[in-house]
């Protein structure tokens, strides 16, 4: 937003080379510098993960079982961890997304300015700040102590993390639905539930889906809630409802603390896989948003 130049001859009315203008330039440079400071670590991490992870990754790496840590990186793979991550994240999504959407519907369609709705909205915000490790401890104490380690317990912990995120993102999207759409349907004699399900939700669907995808991307990369809920074993466990399981992030955590080069190599491969999964989800979220933005016009 620089001052607009005069249309014909360029007459610069500003003080020439004053301290004020130099200060302005210095601060602008500092702002650009701060962005550079953000790019450097990001570039470094992505570069390292790609350089160290890409040579490890192959079709057999993605599917074969996890070998003992001492073996070199070209033997074995992370198949069980990928399977576990897909199982647990999918189950968490099934648990948290519908509940989150329903909660957001209450906040936006029914609650209005009632105290209970304001309380729920406030604490949904606060819940996004609960550390993920506390969610792990919570599920350990109410579930794992009684029913043992399982993918389901991990899904509960991830679901607790996703729930407030889904509520908040859905709530934002429902707020954008114009009131005239609702009023039009009421005028046709529809009940409130019918208006919500057949008019309001479809109108906000794009935003809701993309918010849910971002919540899934966040959950897929979480390690702390899984440590005490799935136990991180090395064998594949296709049954998500019982028995200890494993996942990509917790496998990376185990490998990162291992002194063996082979295990570290597999850790880099798993890290690249995890980042690719997260990127795909993020890009999918953007595509959904773009698609629906066009559809809405």
């Amino acid at each position: 937003m620089a001052p607009a130049p005069a249309p014909q001859q360029k007459v610069d009315l500003r003080e020439p080379r004053s301290w004020r203008r130099s200060k302005n330039r210095i601060v602008t440079t500092l702002m650009v510098l701060s962005f550079v400071l953000v790019i450097i670590p990001l570039g470094f991490v992505l570069f390292t993960v790609i350089v160290k992870g890409a040579p490890v990754i192959s079709a057999s790496f993605l599917t074969s079982s996890i070998p003992p840590n001492v073996l070199p990186a070209n033997i074995g793979g992370i198949g069980p961890a990928i399977l576990g991550t897909i199982e647990i994240t999918a189950l968490a999504t099934v648990l948290a997304v519908p509940l989150g959407i329903l909660g957001a519907i209450y906040l936006n369609e029914y609650g209005g300015n009632r105290p209970v709705a304001r309380l729920i909205g406030f604490f949904a915000d606060v819940m996004t700040g609960v550390p993920s490790i506390v969610m792990g401890l919570f599920i350990f104490s109410i579930w794992v102590l009684h029913f043992g380690f399982s993918g389901l317990a991990g899904a509960f912990a991830l679901g607790c993390l996703m729930l407030p995120i889904v509520i908040r993102s859905t709530d934002e999207m429902l707020k954008l639905v114009p009131n005239s759409l609702r009023e039009g349907s009421y005028a046709l004699g529809a009940t409130k539930a019918r208006v919500t399900v057949t008019v309001v939700l479809p109108a906000a669907l794009g935003g809701i889906v993309s918010g849910a995808l971002l919540a899934v991307a966040r959950a897929a990369g979480e390690t702390a809630p899984l440590l005490f809920t799935i136990l991180t074993v090395t064998t594949a466990n296709p049954n998500v409802f019982s028995g200890a399981n494993t996942s990509l992030p917790s496998q990376i955590f185990v490998n990162a603390s291992s002194p063996y080069v082979g295990a570290q190599g597999r850790g880099w491969g798993a890290a690249l896989t995890l980042i690719v999964i997260a990127f795909i989800l993020m890009i999918a979220a953007r595509l959904v948003t773009a698609r629906f933005a066009r559809f809405a016009r």
């Binding site: 937003m1 004020r20 203008r21 302005n24 601060v27 602008t28 702002m31 650009v32 510098l33 701060s34 962005f35 953000v38 990001l42 470094f44 991490v45 992505l46 390292t48 329903l102 909660g103 519907i105 936006n108 029914y110 609650g111 209005g112 300015n113 209970v116 709705a117 729920i120 406030f122 604490f123 949904a124 915000d125 606060v126 819940m127 996004t128 700040g129 609960v130 550390p131 490790i133 506390v134 401890l137 919570f138 104490s141 109410i142 729930l163 707020k175 609702r182 009940t191 409130k192 539930a193 979480e222 390690t223 702390a224 005490f228 990376i252 955590f253 490998n255 890290a271 980042i275 990127f279």
Partner: protein
């Protein structure tokens, strides 16, 4: 996550006592139940984890805040972890906040819209990198590299007052400071996007007024943007603080895992989430209860910080509208 909430529009509110079809009322009850689930989960977290922690609280009493952590001798004083959490979070914020506010101002006040979008994408990418990947990179690549820098700084300031006790030897790659740096990377996207949201609400007419009086961009930012968005930025920083305190896995890998209280920032340390993550597997009895207790303390701290942050943001938003 958004901290700027526009006022809700008035909608025809459903009353449960009204004569409406059963399915309609049922749906309302269903949505209310889903909303109340948030409160139920929060209460359950508090109750179930404190229950597990009760034997720590009862056997140690006030000694839970002592600086004596030795599981082998059944000593569970948590001061070192609280200290480590505070130190790493403060380092993270000192590094992350100026950068985040700088990027937020760059995005909203300096670059044109079509450049702002790619910059936002880059910041989002930073948020997408999972914390365990930061930890993996931190311990295998970053810590060995930065150890040399620590050593040279350490030998340079050794014996100098103030600087010596802070940055002097011992210099370890896995340390308070490394954990602080890694946490700063993870906090930056949050603080940036929240403060960008706040700064974007500054009315254009105020900014143009400042320019019309001949202000430079810096003077406009200091005179108009910052006073208007102060509260929101403070809220964003507090939310970043909550995140930095609770972030587990990256810190657990790079903090050095040593329960010590020292002014030496380059020395290995420990913080609350990482001791839970690293020790929980082997812990039983009072040890496990103590780790649960650390979780309870962490939960209470982050809840308090989040409540204050939301309150600060809401108050400043109200004042902003009123003015």
């Amino acid at each position: 996550m958004s901290i700027v909430t526009p006022e809700r529009q008035g909608r025809p509110a459903g009353s449960l006592t009204e004569r409406r079809p059963l399915g309609d009322r049922g749906f309302q009850v269903l949505t209310l139940g889903a909303g109340l689930l948030v409160l139920v989960i929060l209460v359950l977290i508090a109750v179930s984890t404190s229950q597990q922690a009760s034997s720590w609280f009862s056997t140690e009493g006030t000694k839970i805040f002592s600086n004596d952590w030795n599981p082998a001798a059944q000593k569970f004083g948590a001061l070192a972890f609280i200290y480590g959490t505070a130190i790493t979070a403060i380092i993270a914020l000192i590094l992350a906040v100026p950068v985040s506010v700088g990027v937020a101002l760059l995005l909203t006040q300096v670059v044109p819209y079509r450049w702002a979008r790619p910059i936002v994408y880059v910041i989002d990418l930073l948020a997408v990198v999972p914390s365990v990947v930061w930890g993996l990179w931190g311990i295998l690549v970053f810590a060995p590299w930065i150890q040399h820098i620590y050593s040279s700084i350490g030998s340079g300031v050794s014996g100098v007052p103030v600087l010596g006790p802070l940055f002097g030897p011992p210099a370890s790659g896995a340390s308070f400071f490394t954990a602080g740096i890694i946490l700063a990377f993870m906090v930056t996207p949050i603080v940036t996007s929240l403060s960008r949201e706040v700064v974007a609400t500054v009315p254009a007419i105020d900014k143009e007024g400042a320019y019309a009086l001949g202000a430079t961009r810096l003077e406009m930012i200091r005179g108009v943007v910052l006073p208007h968005s102060q509260g929101g930025i403070v809220g964003a920083v507090l939310l970043g603080l909550g995140r930095a305190m609770g972030e587990t896995i990256a810190a657990a890998l790079v903090i050095g895992s040593s329960a010590t209280i020292t002014s030496h920032l380059f020395a290995p340390g420990y913080n609350m989430p990482s001791v839970i993550a690293n020790e929980f597997g082997e812990a039983t009895g009072v040890f496990r209860s103590a780790l649960f207790g650390l979780g309870v303390l962490l939960f209470v701290f982050t809840i308090i910080i989040n409540v204050i942050a939301r309150a600060v943001v809401q108050r400043s938003a109200r004042r902003g509208r009123g003015a």
